[in-house]
Subunit: 256 residues, 2 copies
Amino acid sequence: MLAEERQQMILKILSDTRVVKLQELVQMLSASESTVRRDLQELEGRHLLRRIHGGASLLKKLNEEPDMESKTLRHVQQKKLVARFASEKVKDNDCIYLDAGTTTLEMIPFIKAKSVTVVTNGPSHAEHLVRNGILCYMLGGLMKGTTKAIVGNIALQNINLFRFDTAFIGANGIDALMGYTTPDPEEAALKRRAHELASTTYVLADSSKFAEISFCKMFDLGEATIITDELPERCQSLITDKANVYIADHPLNPMV
Amino acid sequence: MLAEERQQMILKILSDTRVVKLQELVQMLSASESTVRRDLQELEGRHLLRRIHGGASLLKKLNEEPDMESKTLRHVQQKKLVARFASEKVKDNDCIYLDAGTTTLEMIPFIKAKSVTVVTNGPSHAEHLVRNGILCYMLGGLMKGTTKAIVGNIALQNINLFRFDTAFIGANGIDALMGYTTPDPEEAALKRRAHELASTTYVLADSSKFAEISFCKMFDLGEATIITDELPERCQSLITDKANVYIADHPLNPMV
DNA sequence: ACCATTTCATTCAAAATCAATCATAAGTAC
DNA sequence: GTACTTATGATTGATTTTGAATGAAATGGT
């Protein structure tokens, strides 16, 4: 493979997945570690990506939520694991709701189903979706400064125009008693409505969210299926008594 | 095989595959390495391809930037001039509509007015606005693949929820008889509605758009005020008879 | 704070590719 | 036919790219 091709491919992969491990690139490109490393060096020199320990990431773009998250590569990998697993729940001809948030954003490059229609309140989600050739409707409404998500009364009206086969929702807290919670009341209301309009709801959360309680309740534990990377042992029975839980498997192959 | 044939074939192959290895060409053309190398040299000299180590690639980087029209530096400067001038039409406490498009996008950093509320159908506009601390509502609806603008029936419903002090609209064609025109019917409908809902409408266009007619009419010439960088002499009277025209001054200071 | 592990930068040799040169063959003008 | 030009193919040494190996640095877990 030509150097040019490799580098183009690296940029393509990055624009889809936002971060990538060096070892993943080594496998995907069938090149040696040294070579990939050199490519990353050059691309960084041309300001086309940012190198991070263990791999590379996009130059900061439409940045996301609390900075505490997605800070370490490890968290990103967990997210990606969850995202990929969730993306397999999307079937041909589905109409789905994709909540704003980083984990749902990671789902997009993994969606393989055909003729999917997506509704989302995340502008960057929408851009990624259409870039991947997926039909996409955005909700209108107020744009939040912190998360760049669309919220508010208009969004709630807008979402009523749709019905979903599946809703994919992010959560900041999962607790046996308090159910699913999130910090912003506006977002909570929208997530709840999305859930109500969907036949099936999946809540995506990495393992750090268990036994956490955030400010606003979205809905009860039993009303959705959880997709996570790991279920901490101490919560295990409490959670599984009330809700279905999928643990995202570790992948055999890093990617296609 | 004749040299001319070979070179045409190289270009053909390249336009299909975007990059090609020298050895592949040697095989495909049944020519020696030296010959292919010489062909590549000549074609590069004629700026028909780019030579890279191991082969050749197309000149254009076909990765991702098909978004908006690629423009010369001159056009960028013109746009910015128009954008800055337009941004000064925004006053404190205004509620404005900002059409999707590159020129209106350039306005955002120049908006100095306080307590402005903006409605837009451009997701990237919305993100820039909130990043600059400007309150922003997005229209909901279908996201167009080519321009990433929000359009369609839902957007038309959404926009009816608002009234604007000022609407800033982009146009692809300005003609004395046909008025303001744009290529996409969906976008034209939205622009027209935005105009109808606004007390004042400014149409932003660089000088290349005059005497151009695009597919869909937005509204008549006299219904809006034009902001441009230059008014070609041949159109001058035709246009100024019907519409107000602002020519964006050349700035004293290059930029902020 | 420590250790085990992973990742990084650097170096080196092998392989691939390149530019330059020369020789051959074919065509052209005289 | 001879002399000249042109296109081609082969050969050479120089340059670039690549992959592996080394020790240094960073990271994660305890």
